[in-house]
């Protein structure tokens, strides 16, 4: 129990780091979460007395890209610290133990931290054939998840597969895959979608939960701090959209000049994620900056929406035209009023919602329904 009671600040001190380092860590994380400065101070105060949490990371129908993403981030700073400052009690890919020893260690960690651990779930859960498509240590994924969820303080579904079903859920869905929220219906699930999610988003959500409890979520169960704006609203190519300058092929003048990729199928206007601001690979770039439209990977059913290269405005039968035009028109008004104002109001809204909605997540929609 001694290890469980060590606080996050204690872990910093044990690593020979000063209070300033701790404040810097909190400032960087608060910035990541688009929180106001007062929140960084509050985060520091809370984490200084928060016991280092046990994290159980379970993988089901997934490709391990979420974990690959999570471990390749800003190394060796923020994420490295987070991994040093939580107790990652079980992750079948990262841990050295295997087989019965691993299962025994996991059971022991869950028993010790029952009711207090953070459960991270990666991958969809197959319900077909009585759950037989995904079985480990004699237990089906669905039974395993139901049991682990009972002892969890929070459940975080990382990746689009866990959040919305993702690739396993795509038509024809031969295994009867479902998202975590369809198995765990009696309590909130924090959806951190993306294929994979941005590494700093995954770790940022964990720190946020430790500092402030349940984050404010959108109607898809995603934390508003990261999924509150569309890619389009924050895209640096947005001025070209507003000017009507588009790339029509990947080798035309528009593509070479870095114009808007809307007509090449970019799903930025209907995709909510932080790629345009946080970016990838240590802030190097994101798909649009590299010349390719957004695939919409953080949205439900992105795989089945009629083609990555089909423009949104084309009648695909999958992307409601009204939604697209509405989002674009709203975005235009916001840009006209000034992006700075948008960002500020978003921060304030997030903070207000955070304070107001802690522990009371909004009802979620069935990912099947649009």
């Amino acid at each position: 129990m001694g290890e469980l009671e060590e606080t996050v600040l204690d872990a910093f001190r044990r690593g020979g780091l000063s209070r300033r380092a701790f404040l810097k860590f909190c400032a960087a994380t608060a910035s990541l979460l688009a929180l106001p400065p007062a929140a960084a101070t509050a985060m520091a105060e809370t984490l200084a007395r928060t016991p280092r949490p046990t994290v159980i990371y379970l993988s089901y129908q997934e490709c391990t890209a979420c974990l690959e993403s999570m471990t390749r981030s800003f190394s060796p700073t923020i994420e490295h610290l987070i991994f040093n400052n939580i107790s990652l009690a079980f992750n079948d890919t990262l841990q050295a133990a295997a087989g019965e020893a691993a299962e025994a260690a996991r059971k022991e960690a869950m028993r010790q931290a029952w009711g207090k651990y953070i459960l991270i779930v990666d991958g969809a859960v197959p319900m077909g054939a009585g759950g037989a498509y995904c079985v480990a240590a004699g237990q089906s994924a669905v039974d395993d998840l139901r049991h682990a969820a009972q002892g969890a303080a929070a459940i975080i579904a990382v990746g689009t597969c866990a959040a919305f079903g993702g690739i396993p859920y795509a038509a024809p869905n031969p295994t009867g895959a479902v998202p975590v929220s369809e198995v765990i219906r009696d309590r909130p699930v924090i959806n951190v979608s993306g294929c994979p999610p941005i590494p700093e988003v995954m770790t940022g959500v964990v720190v946020y939960y430790l500092s402030f409890g349940m984050p404010a979520l959108d109607h898809q169960g995603r934390p508003l701090a990261f999924y509150g704006n569309s890619i389009h609203d924050r895209c640096y190519r947005r001025p070209f959209y507003d000017e009507g300058r588009f790339a029509h092929t990947f080798d035309d003048e528009g593509a070479r000049n870095g114009w808007c990729l809307y007509e090449l199928g970019c799903k930025g206007p209907v995709t909510y994620n932080a790629c345009a601001t946080l970016k990838w690979n240590q802030g190097t770039s994101f798909p649009i900056q590299s010349g390719h439209g957004c695939l919409g990977c953080s949205e439900p059913d992105f795989w089945d929406k009629g083609g990555f290269y089909r423009p949104l405005s084309a009648a695909t039968g999958h992307w409601p035209r009204g939604e697209v035009l509405g989002a674009a028109a709203l975005g235009g008004v916001v840009v006209g009023a000034g992006m700075a104002a948008l960002a500020r109001s978003h921060q304030k809204t997030s903070a207000a919602k955070t304070a107001k909605e802690a522990g009371s997540p909004p009802p979620k929609e069935d990912p099947h329904e649009r």
Partner: protein
């Protein structure tokens, strides 16, 4: 492997229009006014805003360079400098790899990370007293 700069194709510059900086300057002015009247601090997270190079140039030019520069060496470098507008601090936190973690404008008398924290002072005092005691046997 070639360095990324050696690849001959690159995206066009985002924009040479300073569309967002003027709005930010108004926000800074309002925050300074609040600081002066009520003492309430404020922070603008630049890393969360879509700023073009022209926006950054305009901000730098309008705020100017001040008298104080502070470098923190903890978890990588942090550079904090007061702009030519007293009370407006340009704060850059970098990782141990030199990656920019966050860049912000803090509107306050002194950023919170600079003053020594009581807990660190207490630990420092304890260490100093131990060293004093070891130098002067029997004395405190």
């Amino acid at each position: 492997m070639k360095p990324i700069d050696a690849i001959p194709i690159r995206p066009a510059p985002a924009s040479d229009v300073a569309g967002n900086a003027p709005a930010l300057l108004h926000e800074i002015a309002a925050a300074l006014d609040t600081l002066l009247r009520t003492g309430r601090e404020y922070c603008i997270d630049l890393s969360a805003l879509p700023l073009s190079p022209a926006d950054r140039d305009l901000l730098r030019e309008a705020l100017g360079t001040g008298e104080v520069r502070v470098d923190l060496d903890t978890l990588g470098n942090s550079h904090i400098e007061e702009t030519g507008v007293p009370g407006v601090w340009w704060v850059c936190h970098r990782s141990e790899d030199g990656v920019l973690l966050t860049e912000s404008l803090a509107i306050c008398r002194v950023p919170e990370i600079i003053p020594a924290h009581p807990a660190d002072i207490a630990m420092g005092l304890q260490g100093l007293q131990e060293r004093m005691a070891s130098r002067e046997p029997g004395g405190h």
